[in-house]
Symmetry: C2
Subunit: 199 residues, 2 copies
């Protein structure tokens, strides 16, 4: 998600450090995302990273906040879609986000970033951005209920069910451990079965 080529002289140092952290994450995975590696990548002294992010987990949190914002933007419904296709479109874009940002996705929802590390990070901001991304899906589910595409129910709980299922398909595809069928076709089957069962 680094905006290569869009950096300007006015781009702030904090942003440049998160850019560097994203490059390190993509190259070396979550385990490699250390203050030292990011300082080297950004060409600054480690103290410059500590001063801004506190520690490794503050840096991870800053990367994940960007990830949740990008996911929220990806998942938002497309006004060009017919009401009955809109949620499936959200699901497809969710899958594309995960496949195109594998390291971010795994850090956001996997267990590579242990929960005690999450707790040590500036979780308030991180939790807010994660909740906002989920909120986009809840809004789409509400809209689908209003349009009669999904049956009326608690939108957040219905959104959780959709997210769980979609996350599962994407996770098994990312891990390369699916057992049957082409992953894209299987994802379409999942969307169709789930949305039908919730309609």
């Amino acid at each position: 998600m680094t905006e290569t080529g869009q950096r300007t002289p006015s781009r702030d140092v904090q942003g440049a450090l998160v850019d560097a952290a994203e490059r390190v994450l993509v190259r070396d995975g979550t385990a490699g995302l250390t203050v030292r590696a990011v300082a080297t990548e950004a060409g600054v002294a480690p103290m410059g990273v500590y001063n801004r992010f506190g520690n490794k987990y503050g840096l991870v949190a800053a990367v994940l906040v960007r990830g949740f914002d990008a996911l929220a933007a990806s998942v938002r419904g497309d006004d060009a879609d017919a009401p009955q296709d809109r949620l499936a479109g959200c699901g497809r874009r969710y899958r594309r986000f995960a496949l195109g940002n594998r390291e971010h996705y795994e850090a956001m929802f996997g267990t590579a970033v242990p929960s005690d590390a999450r707790a040590a990070a500036s979780t308030t901001e991180l939790d807010e951005h994660a909740a906002a991304a989920f909120g986009v899906l809840v809004g789409e589910v509400s809209r689908a209920m209003d349009a009669g595409v999904l049956r009326r129910d608690d939108p957040a709980e219905t959104a959780q069910v959709i997210w769980s299922a979609v996350h599962g398909a994407v996770s098994l595809e990312l891990a390369g451990v699916t057992q049957a069928g082409d992953p894209e076709a299987s994802f379409e089957r999942l969307l169709a079965a789930l949305l039908s069962g919730l309609s």
Copy 2:
């Protein structure tokens, strides 16, 4: 899954080493599952582990083979269940297996064991046991189709859809990142929506 108290003098050394590896996995996670740690845990020389398992990944594979066998046994349908409840029962036992064997589950289906490590391990045996566990679900799906509980379709592809969804709910619960609802109630909603959509 270590069978504490059931060890007998005739229990073979290989089995005792896998027992030790399971204890190390549960205690220290996948990253801590090294030949040295397992040798220490089992009270043998590291060479004794190398001789039997080749390397760390051979040891991981042996643990995962056990995990898949235990999962297969957990997921198998209960003949006491009515046909229309049988698949939901499989799903509930799958969730209980994952929650009760968190470290095994993450090693089996997560990205903690990188795919190149899987490839380095004795994958033939591992793949066979993973496929056999999936095969139990495929058999249950076939049976549900025969009973008219699920609509007729390719049983393996339908099983993949069910597995994906169930895995997703369980993974988010294990990672502690769900956004809405009680995880157990949310799991029940997922099962009901999915099985309805596939019926």
